[in-house]
Every structure is written in structure tokens, then in C-alpha cells.
């Protein structure tokens, strides 16, 4: 009966399914983007190779937001004064918003290599000039950039000196002094990556004792710290998006079921005359709504995969990561919104007087 009802009203069914699918897709894509960006960023930071990350006091775990306020000389002191430290590399970070959004690292190639090994060049080589940059393969592919090509970013033209394998912090690198100069932050760094010997925890404790005001993070803990509930504001953002998506779902299902109740008043009267109880009528409406939502969830899950593929094609540097946990959550939110949205119409249907319902034209 439910499937017959859905088939007999194809437009209503299709619109409802698409609306629920939109709800699921909205949740999955937004969460997928934030999770993907955070995880990708986390993986690339870990990929730099340091065991410990030192930041200025009260810095964000999102390194892109780190200011260039640390004197570069701290790195030398750390190597000299903290036993167990093998290498330290200062990195100055800036976010480029021209033609996309990406993190640019100003690095000292020698110490950067000492901390995590050399950058693996696919084409070209290191920067020789202040206006030279090195980019990773994903960035190069997304911008169709070749070695020797001029690109405009951070307000000026740069030449692509080399293309490296991705996974080492940023997608774009330039010489540390060049970026310090560009940012007006001479002899400053945003963060330090610290390579230790065997006992990183002991080194961390020593660092904390020596530099108690600074933010010290173990690289191995970074991935868990990059989850949405640990990043300030991100959790609230996701909650807001989910709330809006659920509201859309509730309203659409409400409207759909409310309309269907009005259209089917006579049918409900027939069922009641046949001896269907109020509870049966409520169950019928809720089951129909559940079926709509279930179909919507299916379409939404498939749709979100399509959108992820589309985003990946258009913006290769923008990672979307779907997790089974959020697949389940999105499905539950959609089903929940269907239940909430159809509850009042179901009660209204059950409350119909059978005689009046049968007389309804």
C-alpha cells in the first residue's frame, strides 16, 4: 500500500526524496569537506617529519592561522639547550587565497631536510631566487603549472622552480627569507618542527619546562587534535549546518505528508471504515514517510559521492573525506527529520472523523 501510494504520486514522491537526499548530501559534503581538509592538513603536517611542533602561546591547531611571531633564533637555542633534539626547522606560514585557498610554507631547505628528509622532486629543483616557488604535484596538476611558469599569488608573480611529491606540510613552498620579507616579518617564524631522538616525550617535557608559555604539540597527537570537536568553531559550524539540514528535511517531509493527508482524506476515511485503528493510520503515515526518507538517504549517499567526484575534478586540492560514522549520522538525521516532520500530519490523519473523511471531496 505504501509503495502504491508513493508510485501513484510520482512528483510528490520525487520532490520529497530529492529534498531528503539534499539534506543528506548537504550534511555529508560539508562534514566531508571539513574532515577532509582537517585530515589532509594533519597528514601533511605529520609528513613534514618532526616529532614535536612548537608554536607561539595560544596558537591555533590550524597552523594556517599561526602568526609569524616566533624569533628564528629560538630554533638554535632549542638545538643547543635541549638534550635529545636532533634538528629544528623554522617555518613561516601564509595563506594564499588567489585562485583557491592554500597554505604556503616559507622554509629553510637545509634544516627542513634535516627534520624530515629531502623534498622529492618530480621536476625542476629548489628555489634560487626570492621569487621562486616549489609546488607539489597536486597543486601543479590543479593549476596545470609547469616548471618555469609564472604564477600569481600573495600579490605578486612567482616562478615555479620545481614540482615535488605531495605530503610535506604545504602545497607551495618558498624560501624562508623571501616569505619573511614579503610578510614584513624579518627573522620570524610561525612554527618550529623539531626532530628528536628515541624519546620524544622526554624532549617534550624538557621543552615545556624551558618554554612554558609556548604551545607544544606531539606530531603523533596531531591527527586526533585535528578532529572537528577539537578545532575551535568547527564543531559549532558543523552543528549549525546539520541543524539547518535537519530543519529543511523536517519542513519538506512535513509539507509533503501534510499535503498527502489532505489529498487522501477520503482514503483515510475508507481505512477507518474498514476498521483500521488510529494507531494503524499513524503507523501508515510514519511508514510512508520512513520509506520516503530511506529512498532519500539512498539517493543522498549516492549523490554525495557524485558531488565529491565533481569537487575533486574541479578542485583537486580540496579533499572530501566521508566516514562511515557520518554516513550513519546523516542517515539517522534524515530518518529522524522524516519522523518529526510526519508526526503531526500522522496525528491529524488519525484524528479525522471517519464520516467526515468519507464525505471529503
Amino acid at each position: 500500500m505504501i509503495s502504491a501510494s508513493l508510485i501513484s504520486r510520482p512528483v510528490r514522491t520525487l520532490v520529497s526524496i530529492l529534498a531528503v537526499a539534499l539534506e543528506v548530501t548537504l550534511i555529508l559534503v560539508i562534514v566531508g569537506l571539513t574532515t577532509g581538509i582537517a585530515n589532509d592538513s594533519g597528514k601533511r603536517i605529520v609528513g613534514v617529519g618532526g616529532d614535536i611542533i612548537l608554536q607561539a602561546p595560544n596558537s591555533s591547531i590550524l597552523l594556517s592561522f599561526s602568526s609569524a611571531s616566533l624569533p628564528v633564533q629560538i630554533g638554535d637555542k632549542i638545538v643547543k639547550d635541549i638534550p635529545g633534539v636532533q634538528a629544528v626547522t623554522p617555518v613561516i606560514i601564509q595563506t594564499n587565497s588567489e585562485g583557491g585557498l592554500e597554505t604556503v610554507y616559507g622554509i629553510d631547505p637545509v634544516s627542513f631536510q634535516a627534520v624530515g628528509g629531502p623534498l622529492v622532486f618530480i621536476k625542476g629543483g629548489l628555489f634560487k631566487d626570492p621569487t621562486d616557488i616549489v609546488v607539489d604535484d597536486i597543486w601543479a596538476e590543479s593549476k596545470n603549472a609547469k616548471v618555469g611558469q609564472q604564477v600569481h599569488m600573495l600579490g605578486q608573480n612567482y616562478r615555479v622552480a620545481g614540482i615535488v611529491e605531495h605530503g610535506r606540510g604545504a602545497r607551495v613552498y618558498m624560501a624562508l627569507p623571501a616569505m619573511q620579507d614579503a610578510m614584513g616579518a624579518i627573522d620570524k617564524a610561525s612554527i618550529f618542527f623539531i626532530k628528536t631522538g628515541a624519546d620524544a616525550e622526554t624532549v617534550r617535557a624538557r621543552l615545556a619546562a624551558k618554554l612554558p608559555e609556548y604551545k607544544i604539540t606531539m606530531a603523533k597527537d596531531l591527527m586526533s587534535l585535528m578532529s572537528s570537536d577539537k578545532i575551535p568553531g568547527l564543531d559549532a559550524f558543523i552543528r549549525t549546518v546539520v541543524f539547518i539540514a535537519v530543519c529543511v528535511g523536517v519542513l519538506v517531509i512535513f509539507l509533503s505528508m501534510y499535503t498527502t493527508i489532505t489529498e487522501r482524506t477520503r482514503e483515510i476515511g475508507i481505512l477507518r471504515s474498514l476498521g483500521a485503528s488510529k494507531v494503524s493510520v499513524i503507523r501508515l503515515i510514519l511508514e510512508e514517510s520512513f520509506m520516503l526518507c530511506l529512498l532519500g538517504v539512498g539517493v543522498g549517499l549516492i549523490g554525495s559521492r557524485f558531488i565529491a567526484s565533481g569537487v575533486h575534478m574541479v578542485f583537486p586540492t580540496l579533499p572530501i573525506e566521508f566516514t562511515s560514522q557520518w554516513y550513519l549520522k546523516a542517515a539517522m538525521f534524515a530518518l529522524f527529520s522524516g519522523l518529526i516532520g510526519s508526526f503531526y500530519p500522522a496525528l491529524k490523519a488519525a484524528a479525522l472523523d471517519p464520516i467526515e473523511a468519507l464525505a471529503y471531496e
Binding site: 502504491a4 474498514l274 485503528s277
Partner: protein, 259 residues
């Protein structure tokens, strides 16, 4: 003997056999409030319907016959009086109780057929069986097959209501109404939307149902011709019974009623 058959008191000694009253109203009243005005639709109706009777309730518009049908069918609560079905007073039952009565004991046939448009004829009948919920037995399936054969709609089961003629739709509605073997079949102007040929077919079906399955049937109509198909005629006017003919020949019918 099945539950459709007349219950004939074994002890009767000649004369008209005493038969069980399956439906009875006592001082039945129904008053509607429309705005600030009270409208008395029924003003004290006392009737007795015996099991296996085919009865017509007739009267002009506003006579109260539809209201009476709603009360007999447990679709509404009376303002006063009793409605006894199989001896159980349903007048004061709540919605749940009335729903149970409709589910277990009443079958409805309406003027406008009232089939579910999205479902096939078969599915329309299955809905009634599903709502009835009792486990389906082979006997029930046989009963349905017999019904479909008798109503001549076996070949139409896969069609939707919109693909059936009015007469066929009404026969599907009759099958749906009696598939669960209700104690009482209530039909509200069952030929009101049919042409004369289909009306005759449908009325003969009621007659046949009554004869073959001993189905108690109450037809509510304003069409005097319909009365010729029934055993008994109850006439109503202004919310009262003004004429109640006893079954013309109940005694004569007994040989055809007993299996």
C-alpha cells in the same frame, strides 16, 4: 452451520421460527449541533434486525437513514439509546471499541464505491484482510475465491479502480466488505452511482450474497425499487421509523437458508 446461518431455536414447535436478533436499537437518538442550533437527526429509533435478513431502510433526504447507518456501523456515537450488536451495546464504546466493532463485525458498501485508487482490485480486497489481521486460513481463501466467482470479478483483480466500470468497482467494494465475513453488511445507496443495468446486477449480487452466505444485509436507500429485492422494508421520516414491514416470508425462506 456457519455463523452466517440463521440461528433457529431447536425448541420451536411450529409457526414462524424464533430467530436471533443480530442488531437492535433501543430508543436511539442522535442530535447534531450546527452552530447554535440542535438538529435532531434521530428521535428514538427502535428496530431489530435478525441474522440473515436482507433489509432496506428507506426514506427521503433528511429522514435520518444515513445517520442511522453510521450508528449501526459504529462510525459514530448516539446521543442517547442503545445499539446492540450480537447483544453487546456499542453505544458507549470509545473510538477504539467502535473501531474494533467495525473491524470484526461490520462491512460497508458505499454509493461512491470508495476503493483506494492507487491499489489494484485485489489489493483493495487484501487491505481489508490485512486490517482484519486474523490469520488467513485455506477456508478464507476458498471463501474469497467463491466470492469473486459469484461477483464475477475474478478476471478483474489486477486492474485498478480507474480501469473498471462502475458496476465492477461496486462489486469489488462488495467483495472487500464481506471478505472477512462480517456479521452485518451495511450498504449506503449502493446503486446510487450506477446505471439501471449495473444496478440490477449489483442488487442481484446482494440477493445472492444473502441467499448463499446467509449474509445479514442492510441497504440504505431512497430508491423504492430497491425494496423489491429485500425481505423487509423499514421506512423512515423525520428521524423516526414510520413503517416496518416484517419479513415477507421468512418462514418460507427457511428451506433456502439452511445449508
Amino acid at each position: 452451520m456457519n455463523k452466517y446461518e440463521f440461528v433457529i431455536q431447536k425448541s420451536y414447535c411450529g409457526g414462524v421460527p424464533e430467530m436471533k436478533s443480530i442488531l437492535e436499537t433501543v430508543g436511539l437518538r442522535k442530535t447534531y449541533r450546527i452552530g447554535s442550533v440542535n438538529v435532531e437527526a434521530l428521535r428514538g429509533v427502535d428496530i431489530q434486525i435478525r441474522a440473515g435478513e436482507l433489509t432496506a431502510i428507506m426514506g427521503p433526504s433528511g429522514s435520518g437513514k444515513s445517520t442511522l447507518m453510521h450508528l449501526l456501523g459504529a462510525m459514530a456515537k448516539p446521543t442517547d439509546g442503545k445499539v446492540l450488536i450480537d447483544g453487546e451495546d456499542i453505544a458507549n464504546l470509545n473510538d477504539y471499541g467502535r473501531t474494533e466493532i467495525r473491524r470484526k463485525k461490520i462491512g460497508f458498501v458505499f454509493q461512491k464505491f470508495n476503493l483506494l485508487p492507487a491499489l489494484s482490485a485485489k489489493a483493495n480486497i487484501e487491505v481489508a484482510r490485512f486490517i482484519h489481521r486474523d490469520a488467513r486460513s485455506r477456508e478464507d481463501d476458498q471463501h474469497l475465491a467463491e466470492l469473486l466467482q459469484m461477483l464475477m470479478i475474478e478476471e478483474k483483480m489486477g486492474r485498478k479502480p480507474s480501469e473498471l466500470s462502475g458496476g465492477e468497482q461496486q462489486r469489488v467494494a462488495i467483495a472487500r466488505a464481506v471478505v472477512n465475513r462480517p456479521a452485518i453488511l451495511l450498504a449506503d445507496e449502493p446503486t446510487g452511482a450506477l446505471d439501471s443495468k449495473n444496478s440490477e446486477i449489483v442488487l442481484n449480487m446482494f440477493r445472492e450474497l444473502n441467499r448463499k452466505f446467509k449474509q445479514t444485509i442492510i441497504l440504505v436507500t431512497h430508491n423504492p425499487e430497491l425494496a423489491t429485492y429485500t425481505d423487509r422494508l423499514i421506512e423512515m421520516r423525520d428521524g423516526r421509523v414510520v413503517h416496518d414491514s416484517e419479513p415477507v416470508s421468512v418462514y418460507e425462506k427457511i428451506p433456502t437458508l439452511v445449508v
